[in-house]
Symmetry: C2
Subunit: 509 residues, 2 copies
C-alpha cells in the first residue's frame, strides 16, 4: 500500500468512525425523546432537558469539530474519493452540507436552543391541554427569536423563510411553494365549493358514537400487521401527538391517539404513522448506523405516510376487504353499514379545525394557513404575540370557521414547540409526491387495485421498498421522483386524483 | 479577586461542568437501559448496543481524560479546597476514586465490555426463557474473562474477589463477609432447622390460585401510593427481572413482574423496588445533576428495599391495615382469611429455588451460594462451564433442593449478564443494615408500630429521608449506620429480629 493510500484509508476510517459516533448519539437521543413523549415523569423533565442539551451539544461539537473539517477537506482533495463506495461518497457529501450549516451556529447558542425546545415541548403539552396560549407564548417567542438569529447566521436565500424551508426539503423556495399552492388553490378551492353547494353529502352518523379504546387499539395492531409493519422492529404506543420515530432499521416506533368518540382519528392516524415506519424499517441495512439511514426528506417521508393513509386506507377497495374486520370490533356501531357507505363516510369533505383530522381535500388549506403564518413570522416579522389572532383570522377567512380555544387552534400542533418552522409545507409536498408516485404504481402494477381489495398489501410495500424505502438518504427527493415517474414534481396528479375521487363520492358526475 | 482565587474558581467550575456532563450521559444511558429492559424491539438491540457502547466509551474517556486528571490535581493542592462547599469537596473525593480506578482500564477494553454486557442482557433474557444455559455460556465466559482482566489491572486487594466487592460496598472484604455470613449461619441455620422440625407451619393455601394481573397491578399502584411514592417523579412498568432505576430525583422508575398463579411475587416485589425508589426520589435536590445524587452503596440501598419489603410489608400490623384493601381485589381467593393468617402465610419459611421469592430467613442462604460461587470464579478460577453444575450442587447441599432447569437455577438472576460480580453480598449486608436501622427507628419513634397498623407509612418515610435518603452519596455506608445507630454494622440485630419474628410465627415459644 502506498503512503497516499494509507493516509486515505485512515482518513475515511476516521471519518466513518466519527459519523457513526454522531449517529449513535442521535439514536440514543431518539430513545430519550420518544420516552419524553410517551410517559416520562413530569418532575424529571427539567433535569432530562439539561442532560439532552449536554449530549446534543456534544453531537453538535463533533459535527463542527476541527477534526471533522480536516477529514472533510482531506476527503475532498482531487482523487481522494477514488475507489470509495457510493455510500462513503454520499456520506461525505451529506456530512459536508451539515458541517457547513452547523459551523455558522455558535455552540453555546445551539445548546441553549436545544434545552429550550426540549422544555418547550412539555410546556406545549400542558398549554394545549389547558388551551392556554399565554402559557406557551414565552417559549414560542424565544424559539422564534432563535430561528431569526439562525437565519441571519446561515444567510438569507431569496427570503428569510426560504432558509428554513431548505432544511426540510432541499431546494424548495417560497417562490416555488407560492406557485404550487397557487395551482392547488385554483383547482381545489372550486372543487370544495362545488361539493359544499351541490354535493350529495355522505352519511357519517355511524362514525359518531362510543368506540372502546382497547378495541380501537386491537384494530390498530391488526392493521399494522396487514401493512407488513415488523413488530420485532418496532412498537405501538400512545402520545398526545402521534408520531413515528426511526431509531435504527430494527427499531422504528409508532404512536397513536385513541379518541373514544371518534373512530377515524386513530384508524387513519395509525395507518399514516405506519407509512412513515415502513419507510424507515425498510432502508437498506447496509446504511444502518450511518447518517444515511432514514428518509431522504420530509416531503418524501410525508408522501409515504399519506399514500398509505389516503390512497390505500381511504380507498373503496380497502374497505371492501377490511370493513368486516372492523365490524368484529364494533358490531353495534357499524350495523347495516356497507363498504361503499363506509368509504363515502370516511371521505367526507368538511371544513374543520384540526389539521390531523382533516379530509384529504381541505387538508392542504390547513397547510396553506401555517405556511402563510410562518412566512409572516420570518419574512414580515410578525410578533408571536399576535399569532393566535392571525391564526383565528386565517381559519375564518379560508375555511369559514374559527377555533373556540387555542387547544383546537394555534396550539394544536407540536411542531413549533420544537422549532420546526418550514416543516409544514412538506405535508402538501407529500400529497403531491404521493399522487404522482401512486399514478406510476398503478401503471406498473395493473393488479394493484385488486390486490388492495383482496387485502394483499405487501406487493405495494415491496414496490415502494424497491423504489423509495431501500435508498434511505442515498437519493435526493428530486432524484427519487424523477426515477420513479420520469418527471419532476407536478401538482396535476394530486388535483386529478382528488377531482376524480371526490366527484364520484359526491355524485357530481 | 486574587489571581489564585480566580484560577481556583475556574478549576472548580470546569470540574463541576465536567462531572455534570458525565452525569448527564449516565442519565441518558439510564433511560436507554430502562427502555431495553421494558420493551425495546428485539431487532434493534444489536445496533442499540453499539450506540450505548459509543456513549459509555465517551463517558469513560471523559472520566479518565487528562483534563480530569489536571483538574483533580489542581483541586487537591494545599488550600485548593478552602472555601469550597461540602458538596464540592465530596465530589472531588468521589471523582478521584473513580478516576484512579478507571484510569487502569484501557478505553478499548472498556468499550468492548460495554457492548458485550449490553448484548448479554438480551441473550440472558432469551436463554432464561428457554432455560438454555449453553446459549448464555459464551457470553458468561467472556464476561468472567473481562472481570479477571479488570482485577489484574486494578490490582488484587487481599484476594482477587475483594477487588470486585469493594466496588459495591467500599471496604468490604472476603474476610469480613466470611465472618458475617458465619455468624448468620450459626444462628439462622439452627433456627431454620428448628422451624422445619418443630414449627407449626402456617396455612398458605389462600396464596395459591389465580390472581388477575390487572387486579395485582391496581394493588401495586395502591401500595406505592400508600408508601409515598411520587408518581409525578416515576412510573411503574413490567420487566422480566424487577428493578428500580433512579435517573434523577424527578424520575425514579420501578418495574415489577406479575405472576397470575402467585400473589406474593408482585406484591412484595413492588414494595421492595419502592424502597429503592423512595431512597432515590428523596435525595437532597441540591445534589441533582451531580454524581452524588443516588444511593451511597448497594448495601445501604438494599437495606431500604428490604426494610420496606420485610420489616414493614411483611409485618402483622401492615396486614391488619391492608388486608381489607387487598380483599377488595381478590374477595373470593381471600375469603375467610384474617390478618393474622395472612401475616403468617406470607412469612412461611421454605427452602426454595428462586432468590427473589425466598422468605426472609432462607434468603441469606441464596446469597451465600452466590457469594461462594463468585469466590470460586475469581479466587479459585472455576471454569464458567461448570457453573450450572456448581450451582445445582450447592442448592442441593445447602437447601436440600435442586433446580430442574437453568431458568429456575443458574440463569435466574440478571446480575452476571451485566458483569455485576461482587454485588450479591450487598443483599445480605442490606438485611443486616435494615435490622439495625429499624431497631433504632423503633426506639426513636415509639408510635411506629401503631402508625404502620393505622396505614400511616409517611412518618417512617420521613424519618428515613432525614437519616438516610437526603444524604445521597454525601455520607459513606459506615458513616450512615454509625450516625443512626451509634455503632458499626452488626449481625446481631438481624438474627435477633428473625428469631423473634419466626419463633412467634412458628409457635416455638
Amino acid at each position: 500500500m502506498s503512503e497516499n493510500a494509507a493516509a486515505k484509508e485512515s482518513a475515511i476510517e476516521r471519518f466513518r468512525a466519527l459519523t457513526t459516533q454522531i449517529k449513535s448519539y442521535e439514536e440514543l437521543l431518539g430513545v430519550v425523546y420518544w420516552d419524553m413523549r410517551t410517559g416520562a415523569p413530569r418532575k424529571g423533565i427539567a433535569q432530562r432537558s439539561e442532560a439532552v442539551g449536554a449530549l446534543s451539544s456534544e453531537m453538535f461539537r463533533l459535527s463542527t469539530s476541527s477534526e471533522m473539517g480536516e477529514l472533510l477537506d482531506a476527503l475532498s482533495e482531487p482523487g481522494a474519493q477514488d475507489g470509495l463506495t457510493a455510500i462513503d461518497r454520499k456520506l461525505i457529501q451529506e456530512t459536508r452540507k451539515d458541517y457547513e450549516r452547523n459551523l455558522k451556529i455558535p455552540p453555546e447558542l445551539y445548546r441553549e436552543y436545544v434545552v429550550l425546545t426540549s422544555q418547550a415541548e412539555t410546556a406545549w403539552e400542558e398549554a394545549k391541554a389547558k388551551s392556554d396560549f399565554q402559557g406557551f407564548l414565552p417559549y414560542l417567542k424565544q424559539i422564534v427569536d432563535y430561528n431569526r438569529r439562525f437565519i441571519e447566521l446561515w444567510g438569507v436565500k431569496g427570503t428569510p423563510y426560504d432558509t428554513l424551508l431548505d432544511m426540510y426539503e432541499p431546494g424548495t423556495t417560497t417562490a416555488e411553494l407560492d406557485r404550487l399552492f397557487g395551482e392547488l388553490r385554483k383547482r381545489l378551492v372550486p372543487l370544495a365549493e362545488e361539493i359544499a353547494k351541490r354535493g350529495d353529502k355522505p352519511d357519517t352518523s355511524f362514525l359518531q358514537g362510543k368506540f372502546d379504546k382497547e378495541a380501537q387499539k386491537r384494530f390498530s395492531l391488526y392493521t399494522l400487521g396487514q401493512m407488513g409493519y415488523d413488530f420485532e422492529a418496532g412498537r405501538l404506543d400512545e402520545s398526545v401527538h402521534p408520531f413515528a420515530t426511526g431509531l435504527s432499521t430494527g427499531d422504528v416506533r409508532i404512536t397513536t391517539r385513541y379518541l373514544e368518540d371518534d373512530l377515524t382519528s386513530a384508524l387513519f392516524g395509525t395507518i399514516h404513522e405506519c407509512g412513515h415506519a415502513l419507510y424507515e424499517q425498510n432502508v437498506d441495512p447496509a446504511l444502518n448506523g450511518t447518517p444515511l439511514c432514514g428518509g431522504t426528506s420530509m416531503g418524501i417521508h410525508e408522501s409515504q405516510s399519506r399514500l398509505w393513509e389516503n390512497m390505500v386506507g381511504r380507498s373503496r377497495g380497502f374497505w371492501r376487504r377490511y370493513l368486516p374486520e372492523l365490524k368484529k370490533e364494533f358490531p353495534a356501531q357499524l350495523e347495516g353499514v356497507d363498504a361503499d357507505a363506509f368509504y363515502r363516510g370516511s371521505n367526507v369533505v368538511e371544513p374543520s379545525l384540526i389539521r390531523i383530522e382533516a379530509d384529504e381535500l381541505t387538508y392542504n388549506i390547513h397547510i396553506m394557513i401555517r405556511y402563510e403564518i410562518e412566512k409572516m413570522l420570518f419574512n414580515e416579522n410578525l410578533d408571536p404575540e399576535r399569532l393566535e389572532e392571525a391564526w383565528n383570522a386565517k381559519y375564518k377567512e379560508a375555511l369559514g370557521i374559527e377555533p373556540s380555544n387555542a387547544g383546537e387552534g394555534v396550539l394544536q400542533d407540536v411542531h413549533w414547540s420544537g422549532g420546526m418552522f418550514g416543516y409544514f409545507p412538506s405535508y402538501s409536498l407529500g400529497n403531491m409526491y404521493a399522487a404522482q408516485i401512486i399514478h406510476t404504481a398503478e401503471k406498473e402494477m395493473p393488479s394493484l387495485a385488486d390486490d388492495i381489495e383482496a387485502g394483499r398489501l405487501l406487493p405495494l410495500k415491496q414496490w415502494l421498498t424497491e423504489k423509495v424505502y431501500r435508498h434511505g438518504k442515498m437519493l435526493e427527493p428530486g432524484e427519487i421522483i424523477e426515477r420513479i415517474t420520469g418527471e419532476p414534481l407536478q401538482s396535476t396528479y394530486l388535483c386529478d386524483y382528488l377531482e376524480k375521487k371526490y366527484k364520484e363520492i359526491y355524485r357530481l358526475g
